[in-house]
Symmetry: C2
Subunit: 282 residues, 2 copies
Amino acid sequence: MATVEEEELPLVLVHRPPNFNFPFKHRLQTHFRLLDPLDLDPPGSTNSFFSRHSASIRTSAAAGKAFSPDVADLAVALLIDVLRRVSAGFRYVRGGLWTRNGEFPLGFKLGGKRVGIVGLGSIGSEIAKRLESFGCVISYNSRRKKPSVPFPWYKNVYDLAVNSDVLVVCCALTEETRHIVSKDVMISLGKEGVIINVGRGALIDEKELVQLLVRGELRGAGLDVFENEPDVPQELFSLDNVVLSPHCAVATPECFDALEELITANLKAFFSNKPLQSVVEF
Amino acid sequence: MATVEEEELPLVLVHRPPNFNFPFKHRLQTHFRLLDPLDLDPPGSTNSFFSRHSASIRTSAAAGKAFSPDVADLAVALLIDVLRRVSAGFRYVRGGLWTRNGEFPLGFKLGGKRVGIVGLGSIGSEIAKRLESFGCVISYNSRRKKPSVPFPWYKNVYDLAVNSDVLVVCCALTEETRHIVSKDVMISLGKEGVIINVGRGALIDEKELVQLLVRGELRGAGLDVFENEPDVPQELFSLDNVVLSPHCAVATPECFDALEELITANLKAFFSNKPLQSVVEF
């Protein structure tokens, strides 16, 4: 039974994917009464849950940009890794090949590469800011041209790919963007093209990507996300020019601290009818 | 025997480490007559070589900043890799652990980290420029404070370490800087400290570094250089928080192109008494 004190706390419905165990749940409970459908029996039985609470629900969204820098950092790491062959070099050292075979084959330079960013939201903008400091040349694709952005805009991903050495995929996954990086887009990127995906697996036609990589029709790829996570196409494991990461773009303790702060502030603002610190646009 | 035409080309003495097989040697030979002590018999028998040619030698140095961006790129890659556990995550995927064990443990955020750069020359400056775009807070150590640089300067490496989360080592190796990152310096960096070395192996007391890493008294290390290359201390191979790279900070084809251009231009300027494009200060 809830105590009287708990009853006085604002009621907050938690909407989260089952595998997202947010570490600050207990601390949020000092400010709010949390209703988490995944605590229900059976977990996620939201239909009856929503019908019971529908009358009292007001919607809010608390997420914002807290994760963007971490995702951008990983995108840059994956790109340098693929171009400069950091992971491959590490395996070379670990395997004792440096001693046996001598110098490690050359990698490719980051500076001067034309990087096309698919989706210039908060993550894409953070990626652009970082890659500019490496001397990369940025352009982007998004539904609409962003007037405040100095980079060239391409109306479609195909044109962006034709004019890029690297595609960094970081847009939202919607029905329109599913497989936005199609076989044709990848072919137009060319044999020296590199693909980085820190968005969602299904933004890329993964089967085609694997085929192109296996056949050597792309220079390489750095992938944090996959179509059927945690399953990763086994063909990629033996390719020296592919770097794989277990969907961990968004995952630092400092990031969760920032998120907790933001969510708490947003919810407090929401319940006292003050402006939110961050608003998610749908 | 040299032909008459060759005799008319300016004579250039090549000074290079034995394992640096510069790929544009043949093209340089179209402009200059190269004397490379390593082509002698026995290779490197420079004493007799110098005594034979000493009368005609004028000194020049052609190197400059062509390599700096590549070294800086690798330093940043190593740092993100250690903090965000990119290589460890890759092994997790390759080993099938993502499917078996679920989510990969959290890494650490780059933004906000206090990065102390040991040696703010052209490489250190390029590193600083990049890391600022990630939200890192830069300070540095060098023999003298650099008036044009906005970052805090520390007179010695010990004070720099006390005030840093990360040390990036990229100064020149001299008698004064050998083991500049001593056990004391590393201990003052603290248990959450990270060390990146893209300078020379002997800048760090490697034996002590290995011991501290094995005992968990540092958060991690990213090392491109080692005291006895290509030998790498085997104890490091089993540590998940250490990223190893086979001295490949300076190694992209684009970089060698830039170097060839610079060396050719500098030597031509030198022989026609024009100002050099880049001057190395000793």
